[in-house]
Amino acid sequence: MENKKQKLPDSGSPATRGPKRPKIPRQPMPEQDPRRRRFNFEEVPRGYAEKNAILEASRCLRCKKPGCVAGCPVNINIPAFIALIAEGRFVQALEKLKEQNALPAVCGRVCPQESQCEAGCILGKKGEPVAIGRLERFAADYARDAGHQQLACTVASTGKKVAVVGAGPAGITVAGDLARWGHHVVVFEALHLPGGVLMYGIPQFRLPKEIVQYEINNLKKLGVEIRTDTAIGLTRTVDQLLEDGFDAVFVGTGAGLPIFLNIPRENAIGVFSANEFLTRINLMKACEFPKYATPPIRPRRAVTVGGGNVAMDAARTALRLGADSTIVYRRGLEEMPARAEEVHHAREEGIAMHLLSAPKRILTDDRNRVVGLECLRMELGEPDASGRRRPHQVKDSEFVVEADTVIVAVGNRPNPLVPRTSPDIEVGKHGTIVADQKTMMTSKPGVFAGGDIVSGAATVISAMGQGKRAAKAMHTYMTGEEPPCT
């Protein structure tokens, strides 16, 4: 972040010139050299300097009907925050962001902007869209470095008690909002550290853990009580929490049940769910073995199955652990659900990709250790329900990818611990909790839910958005009033 302290341009700042001005190209973000970052866990994009941020912000046309806002799952007032950046009012820009987004430093890094806000940007029709994600990240990082602290907007306590189950993105959002509105919030986390997927899933090089820690510290400063090592459903159930005197409960337990491929020898040594692989490295710090006691994974040839963000994270982590890293994905590059930037970074770092290939079986040695992955070629047919073209197997097209480590990153199902122990919360087809899309209230009064436990495996921003909605509805549910601030 050393380049962030550069001086502002003295005069004639593009911001003052208004929208009609010579064309400014989309500002590139400095990145760590791919030759170097292959071997470290430091963050890859380094963030904008103030100068670049102002330049980039000044590209925004401030449309009357902004497509970006429509594309944003939480409808952030994007032109407004960008205008504040263009004026050099970075902290105010953050506050604007915070109205809709509890975690801008996180979302600026992990949102798939190219298919959300930036997809709606009018500049993108003929050229390149405004780098909204990078600007969001810039404003959040700037405010964090400047020691900005979001304060409670009411001093008076409402006397209401709220239980938040799961300290992931949805839970953090709900806890933060409700604490600022004067409620006593207790967050229950099953793992030993709060943060959920931000902590155990997304690697350091994409989301530095200091940022997550900063958000958690903010919660604590707002008076939120965080109880780790507490798996609701196994200790207290949701029903019991209501009996304990909590006025409302928010369930944000996420999609923490990995899906496997269901192919032969999948339980061989060396086959990991992406969750396990990433948890060992990110949460348990196995890469700092033997200081940390969790045994490290030492892949030489790692094959990751899947095309989402988690697959990219796993493949890039394996690479950093010293492996030749390969991705096997059954559709094409176009169809990959991962953020374009992650796919780009992965390719830049030298990760090989077997596209249109689906795993058929795991090959093992006599000690049940993985030696390879047999795959089948695929071809794309008609679009399926998700709008993506459905892949079909090509007969007799088997081929083998050598591997000592296979990482399965084909998605997660909702964690069953809460639904299993709360029979009167209505559950959907795939084990998701059914919630009202406006209020996020479940079929059980006083119990709200949001994040991946409702939407299946989705994004941080949608979890955060549902958290925002839930917090609002919970406040109204408990007090009968609108929240005192956004």
């Binding site: 099953a190 798996a231 196994l234 339980n267 348990m284 049940n368």
Partner: protein
């Protein structure tokens, strides 16, 4: 010399005068069993296995101490001798855990548990790091039969793990006295001897001092000569028996002692003396430090270059290109600083390079603790007189010497602050990873063997320099082979020896290797006053939390922990488990709940010390706080009235079945609890179980209590006597598998609590997946109880061993310095558990 003729078992044998009867018999090829005898030790007559009958001599003299005499009539075999030897062996085994021998399931267990369990105490089969090399066991196995008629008297000596490098468990000692005899032979004054008398007799130091203060030089000969698993090398012990041995020499100080490298699967696991002779002794660093340096987790793996301020790893060719380019650019002002702890070939090539490039050259000698090597003026002098480009083969310079360098090439195997500034960093093979020769202080030239694999992309320095010479086009550095380089070295001067040889005095051990502090690489060296790089003290402050209320060693290796965890206690149900982390850096490890008290807010666990995580927990003292206790986890056992329920528990499972027995009996079942242990002294909680069961039966693998065998033998007995509605077994995978195979034909529902490796324990990671009737289940949320008849046991056993090697590496090598200074503080409990 005169010759003597004697008759042994009817054969005439001719030996030189002075030979013992044992020598004579061996010379004639007549086998006599021995334990305390060793070819490098004087006869002692301690074990009494080598007894013979000699005509005209009263009783049964020991052949090792009896000189052969003219006309002697010796018998080595007779019914009386066989009986006596058998009794002697039984006596020895009565003081030495012996289930590794007598267990009826020995063969099956050994085939399923090839790796030794990293237990604190050796109490049973699979727990002994020395099983593959145990002389005692080999002799007993040769004698045949597994019935020993004397009970095991476990002496309950404390484990001695506070000294550097060695773990001692005197419960395995058979008082053969090999250790102190070799100590006396090598050092003149032994640091250890037999202390106490009668049943209390044991090996120890004078006044129970720590070995550090007893005059011990840590040459390791006692470990290498011990016939049992009593004395072990902490680093090497769990790696198993070496598959390759290679003679080489130590280059860590000018002494250049000969040593033998012990290698397993390409990994150096230990270095030991080449012979049990005073001249062959090694210092603590040479004996114990070598393998730790070579296996340092911080080893450099990849060539790295710096470009535009960014450094990144590259292939060897690009790195050498960059190095050559940098060197040719800065030829005029180059200095080369190498370590004297290198082969003659490496040094010769560095020297040639210096000559060719007109560079200044200096070799930094190894120095004993307390002294610092002198650096040449051209690196420490005023800035103007300094070389502005350097080649470093180690960590010799401080920041101030490195400032303002135009070019820095580092060729080293270990990290140093200087490398942050290096323009090119080349990873070198170290010590046992490279061939060559070494000239010792006495002028002798010794061969260095390449016996282990270098990590990552590291290469021997002579190879690197040779390639570098080619890249620079230096004709004088073109050699055909290493032998040619050796030939070209010529008469190099012998290095200056240390004033006091490190092998005689631990206070003069080399403090640096290639400029790196040896105590950083081999943490236990701090016990000898060698200082490691100071690290900022980070205190773990626990504000509140999971306090350890009580801790007790119930039986050897089995620890009872009562922990304050109100939330777990309030919700626990029979069959559930918790995940513990002793420290923030610990692994998340699951343990079955053995009991709980919701009112007091405490939980009770019984855990067996079998590796780093359980050891961290076992070593906690009452009052200390655990970092995390997460639970209760897992599905409770579905308690219902079924009729007659038979529970089987082994090791930690004895604790685990207690709450099950209580709940099942309360539900109206007739509950029979069966517990097993290797030997009677390893049983615990029999009374506690009796209080909650209708009947308790016991089995031991040596038959010392109850039925001879395990849980499965008792299950068979019960089924023969009465109908059973459910079997439940909790214990090691082997025991549960045996039970599953036994009950399958009876068609009685059988449940087992599976214990695979877990990470989160809440279903999130899938590490704990098991196959039940061909379907993948997660033991943490679908289990731990499963239908025993549907379990894929081979898969489970395999998955449990996934991290076998890493688990060995995880065991700490540092010693607790405060325990050495205040011996009393490190003895929190008696160790016997009774």
């Amino acid at each position: 010399m005169a010759e003597i003729h004697l008759t042994i078992d009817g054969r005439t044998v001719t030996v030189k005068a002075g030979a013992t009867v044992l020598h004579a018999a061996r010379q004639a090829g007549i086998p006599i069993p021995t334990i305390c005898d060793h070819k490098d030790l004087n006869p002692y007559g301690a074990c009494r296995m080598c007894i013979v009958e000699i005509e005209g001599v009263r009783g049964f003299p020991t052949s090792c101490t009896t000189p052969a005499a003219e006309g002697m009539q010796v018998r080595t075999r007779s019914p009386e001798l066989e009986t006596l030897r058998r009794r002697t062996l039984e006596l020895m085994f009565s003081g030495h855990p012996n289930t590794c021998l007598v267990c009826p399931h020995r063969e099956a267990c050994e085939s399923m548990r090839p790796m030794a369990t990293k237990a604190g105490r050796t109490t049973r089969c699979g727990f002994c790091s020395n099983r593959e090399e145990c002389d005692l066991r080999n002799m007993a196995l040769q004698a045949g039969g597994r019935d020993l008629n004397l009970p095991t008297l476990y002496a309950a000596h404390n484990l001695e793990r506070d000294d550097p490098f060695m773990d001692r468990d005197y419960n395995l000692c058979i008082l053969c006295a090999r250790c102190w005899r070799i100590c006396e032979k090598i050092h003149g004054k032994p640091a250890i001897s037999i202390i106490n008398r009668g049943r209390q007799a044991r090996v120890g130091t004078a006044f129970h001092k720590s070995h550090v203060h007893s005059g011990c030089t840590f040459c390791g000969s006692c470990i290498d000569i011990c016939p049992t698993g009593t004395l072990t090398d902490r680093f090497a012990r769990w790696h198993g028996k070496a598959d390759t041995r290679a003679d080489s020499a130590c280059i860590l100080c000018p002494e250049g002692c000969s040593l033998t490298a012990h290698v397993k699967g390409g990994q150096l696991v230990a270095t030991a003396m080449t012979a049990f002779e005073p001249d062959s002794s090694l210092c603590a660093l040479g004996r114990f430090g070598y393998a730790q340096i070579v296996n340092a987790p911080t080893r450099l793996l990849r060539p790295t270059i710096r470009d535009n301020g960014e450094s990144f790893s590259v292939d060897w060719d690009s790195a050498l290109d960059a190095a050559a380019a940098g060197l040719s650019k800065h030829e005029s002002a180059l200095g080369i600083l190498v370590s004297a702890a290198a082969s003659r070939e490496d040094r010769h090539l560095y020297h040639l390079l210096a000559q060719e490039l007109g560079a200044k050259f200096a070799a930094i000698p190894a120095t004993p603790a307390g002294t610092k090597p002198l650096l040449p003026k051209w690196v420490t002098g005023p800035k103007k007189s300094r070389s502005s480009a350097l080649i470093l083969s180690g960590d010799f310079l401080e920041d101030k010497h490195l400032a303002g360098l135009d070019f820095l090439l580092v060729i080293d195997g270990l990290p140093s602050p200087a490398q942050e500034r290096a323009d090119v960093l080349l990873p070198a093979a170290l010590l046992s990873e490279a061939e060559g020769t070494f000239r010792t202080a006495s002028g002798q030239i010794k061969d260095l063997a390449r016996s282990s694999r270098a990590p990552g992309m590291a290469r021997p320095e002579w190879e690197i320099l040779w390639d570098l010479g080619q890249k620079l086009g230096l004709k004088s550095m073109a050699f055909d082979s290493l032998d040619h380089i050796t030939a070209a070295v010529g008469e190099d001067p012998a290095p200056q020896a240390f004033a006091d040889a490190p092998r005689h005095d631990v206070r003069t051990l080399p403090a640096f290797y290639r400029g790196h502090r040896t105590a950083d690489l081999v943490p236990a060296l701090e016990a000898f006053g060698l200082s490691a790089t100071p690290r900022p003290l980070k205190q773990d402050v626990s504000i509140e939390g999971f306090q350890l209320l009580e801790t007790r060693e119930l039986a050897p290796n089995m620890h009872l922990l009562r922990i304050k965890a109100p939330q777990v206690a309030a919700h626990a149900k029979p069959g559930q488990f918790v995940i513990l982390m002793a420290k923030e850096t610990s692994e998340r490890t699951p343990y079955t709940l053995a009991d709980w008290d919701a009112e007091a807010g405490s939980i009770t666990l019984i855990l067996e010390e079998v590796g780093r995580s359980s050891r961290e927990l076992a070593l906690l003292k009452a009052g200390e706080v655990l970092a995390h206790v997460s639970g209760p986890l897992g599905k409770p056992f579905p308690v219902a009235k079924k009729g007659t329920v038979v529970l089987g528990g082994g090791c930690y499972g004895i604790g685990a079945i207690l709450p099950l027995a209580r709940a099942l009996r309360q539900a109206g079942n007739h509950v029979l609890s069966v517990i097993e242990a290797s030997s009677a002294y390893l049983l615990f909680w029999e009374e506690e179980l009796r209080a909650v069961s209708d009947e308790v039966r016991v089995a031991t693998k040596d038959g010392s209590r109850g039925a001879y065998g395990g849980v499965q033998e008792v299950f068979q007995q019960i089924v023969d006597q009465q109908p059973v509605d459910i079997f439940i077994a909790v214990g090691c995978t082997f025991m549960m598998r045996m039970v599953a195979e036994l009950t399958k034909p009876w068609n009685v529902p059988t449940f087992v609590a599976l214990n695979p490796i877990m990470v989160d324990g809440t279903g999130m990671c899938g590490a704990c997946r098991v196959s039940i009737h061909g379907e993948t289940k997660f033991a943490c949320i679908d289990g731990p109880f499963f239908d025993a008849h549907g379990v894929d046991w081979d898969e489970l056993a395999c998955r449990k061993s996934a991290y076998a090697r890493e688990e060995v590496e995880a065991l700490p090598q540092a010693v607790d310095l405060s325990a050495l200074m205040f011996p009393g503080a490190a003895r929190p409990r008696c160790g016997c558990g009774r």
